[in-house]
């Protein structure tokens, strides 16, 4: 039985979560820039490598 649970600041956790989400949205923008300038054969090979893992 755990008896030393840490105190959790839910407001701060919520801000971290939103911040992380905003960072992921920025990553998507960067990834779209990459996809647009990259030949289909290259980006889709990379996508295949992730999906076929």
């Amino acid at each position: 039985m755990i008896n030393n649970f840490p105190k959790i600041d839910l407001d701060r956790l919520s801000k971290d979560k939103e911040n992380n989400f905003q960072q992921r949205l920025k990553f998507i923008d960067k990834y779209v820039e990459y996809i647009k300038k990259t030949p289909n054969e290259k980006w889709s090979k990379e996508q295949k490598d992730i999906i076929n893992l």
Binding site: I35, N40, K45, I51, N52, L53
Partner: protein
């Protein structure tokens, strides 16, 4: 990305991944039986390069009677698919298809990925079926949802994953989609705030 837009057709080529192959194999059976369909949701973004996987592919099909559904069931089993929710076509039709419940098919003895089939029931389903986009890639052809509606609908679903898919499609196709049409869908689905907050 080399891609061509031509009215309701999109043409491009890619190195096919397992989810692409799974989707092509399944939709070929629908084509063979002349069952109208449209692919919606996450796979639309994945088809065009989104860097994530999915456990299922969502598809809306036209209404089918029990005979047609039995024919579909038989063709799917012959082609190495099986239903992961029930064992007989009679049960599947009665307890799922006829009451607009979603049915799932995977390759035999597997569970994921699976095809989640929904027979159209809402007016928006009918619209998306009648206004699908044909995507021609690597000598295959599949039908997907109108992109503008897809973006707005993803915002309506509104999980973080859905918003990310919406942003991906929006940023990727911003020069190809009809922005006034997207505005209309955003308004109709009441997602103006989400649109402004996460896409602009």
């Amino acid at each position: 990305m080399e891609i061509e837009f031509d009215n309701n057709k999109i043409r491009f080529n890619k190195v096919l991944n397992n989810l692409d192959k799974f989707t092509i194999n399944f939709t070929k059976i629908l084509d063979k039986l002349n069952i109208k369909y449209v692919i919606i949701s996450g796979y639309v973004a994945i088809l065009f390069g989104r860097s994530r996987n999915s456990e299922d592919v969502d598809i809306i099909i036209d209404r089918v009677d029990e005979n047609k559904f039995t024919e579909l069931w038989s063709e799917l089993y012959k082609s190495g698919f099986e239903c992961i929710l029930c064992d007989t076509s009679e049960f599947a039709f009665k307890d799922y298809i006829s009451i607009n419940e979603r049915l799932r098919f995977a390759k035999t003895n597997t569970f994921i990925p699976n095809m989640e089939i929904k027979v159209y029931s809402e007016s928006i389903d009918k619209w998306v079926l009648d206004n699908s986009i044909e995507v021609i890639f690597n000598n295959n052809s599949i039908f997907i949802s109108n992109i503008e509606l897809q973006i707005a609908y993803k915002l309506y679903l509104s999980s973080e994953k859905d918003i990310e898919d919406a942003r991906y499609l929006y940023k990727l196709f911003i020069d190809n989609i009809k922005l006034n049409e997207l505005d209309k869908w955003v308004e109709k689905l009441n997602v103006k705030n989400v649109f402004k907050r996460y896409l602009l």
